[in-house]
């Protein structure tokens, strides 16, 4: 077998391994979140850009009514809230420094009392889902008069390389009415994803 074929085999194994890691990581992080009393958290990876040419984010509405948010930089939260508002989603977005999180009292979360599986099936669990390069919001699960709360916190490892990336945690849930303000506290999940060096989501 030529080296090209062997490399191809290795890479296919890697694709399989990544799919497996993604599946496991989602569950593990969720369990961590449930134990800590947080609504939901998962790690996403966002490139750290130093230039100013690229906007902080891009919002795209899909034909099925869902909204994709691709994040390039964690800034302009207010503007992102406005843009989502125009698409019919009331959102409350907080970008937090490394190791910090919002306190629990943001409002009554829809689906907040059940098991992780119940949560996953609830409006809170379905309103915002991580995608491979950002997140997908489904306005149907947010609904009128409710607010989609999203908190992003930086984990400590930024991978080296020409396009450095950093790892972040997202916590999201839906509350009745407007969200109460974020009171910054230490992030209980900080150690969960902070030390691996490699993003657990794999991409």
């Amino acid at each position: 077998m030529s080296f090209e074929e062997r490399i191809l085999m290795e890479l296919k194994d890697e694709i399989t391994a990544r799919a497996e890691r993604r599946r496991r990581t989602g569950r593990r992080l969720f369990a961590g979140a449930a134990v800590a009393g947080l609504a939901a958290a998962a790690a996403i990876v966002v490139p750290l850009l130093t230039g100013v040419e690229q906007p902080a984010y891009a919002v795209t509405r899909n034909t099925d009514g869902t909204i994709d948010v691709r994040l390039n930089e964690f800034r302009d939260a207010d503007k992102l809230e406005q843009d989502l508002g125009k698409l019919g989603v009331d959102a409350d977005i907080t970008y937090l420094p490394p190791g910090k999180w919002c306190g629990e009292d943001r409002g009554k979360a829809i689906g907040g009392d059940g098991s992780p599986e119940d949560w996953d099936a609830s409006a809170s669990g379905r309103a915002a889902r991580l995608d491979h390069d950002g997140l997908r919001i489904d306005p149907r699960y947010v609904g009128k008069g409710r607010t989609l709360v999203m908190m992003f916190s930086e984990a400590k490892n930024a991978s080296a390389g020409p396009k450095p990336k950093t790892e972040w945690q997202l916590g999201s849930f839906v509350v009745e009415g407007p969200a109460r303000p974020c009171v910054v506290v230490d992030n209980p999940l900080w150690k969960d994803t902070g030390g691996s060096g490699r993003p657990p989501a794999g991409d």
Binding site: R6, L8, D203
Partner: protein, 183 residues
Amino acid sequence: MRRKRAEIARDHAAFEAFYRRHVDAVTRFLARRVDDPHTVADLVAEVFMAVLDSAHTYRAESGSEVAWLYGVARNTLSSERRRLFRESRLTDRMSGRRPLDSDDLARLEERIDAERPARRVLAAMAGLPEGERAVLELVVIDQLTVTEAATALGIRQGAAKMRLHRARRTLQGLPFVMEGTPG
């Protein structure tokens, strides 16, 4: 587009098609810059590994697949060079090498030989500022169009043209006799 991007990194068949389409071009790209067959083979694997990491950055509308791929290959190569600079190559690197049989070695050495003129021209460009050299490399050595080179480097087309112009002016007198890379 989203579906296609996700497919390359997640679907075996889609990835295999992508790999087979480009593995030769990537091998030649690397053979123009590295003259050791083992390192070339390792880097081919690294580049496609990086493709899995960054498949989501590919935009069909912003240029050809190969331009994007050369951008990934450049980044892989430069982070590999930084890594080698930090680590001792002998202690760390040798043990992890993938084995190459004599056929592999012969084919890779042939490629590396074929790219010797390109490596000579690259060496002559070494004195240029990094930004200018990058554009010139992709256009003259890797035969990308200026638009594709801009895509590979993530810069605007105008900036690429400007850099190319400056680089050529600096290098007037250097004989760019390129036979065109084979097949």
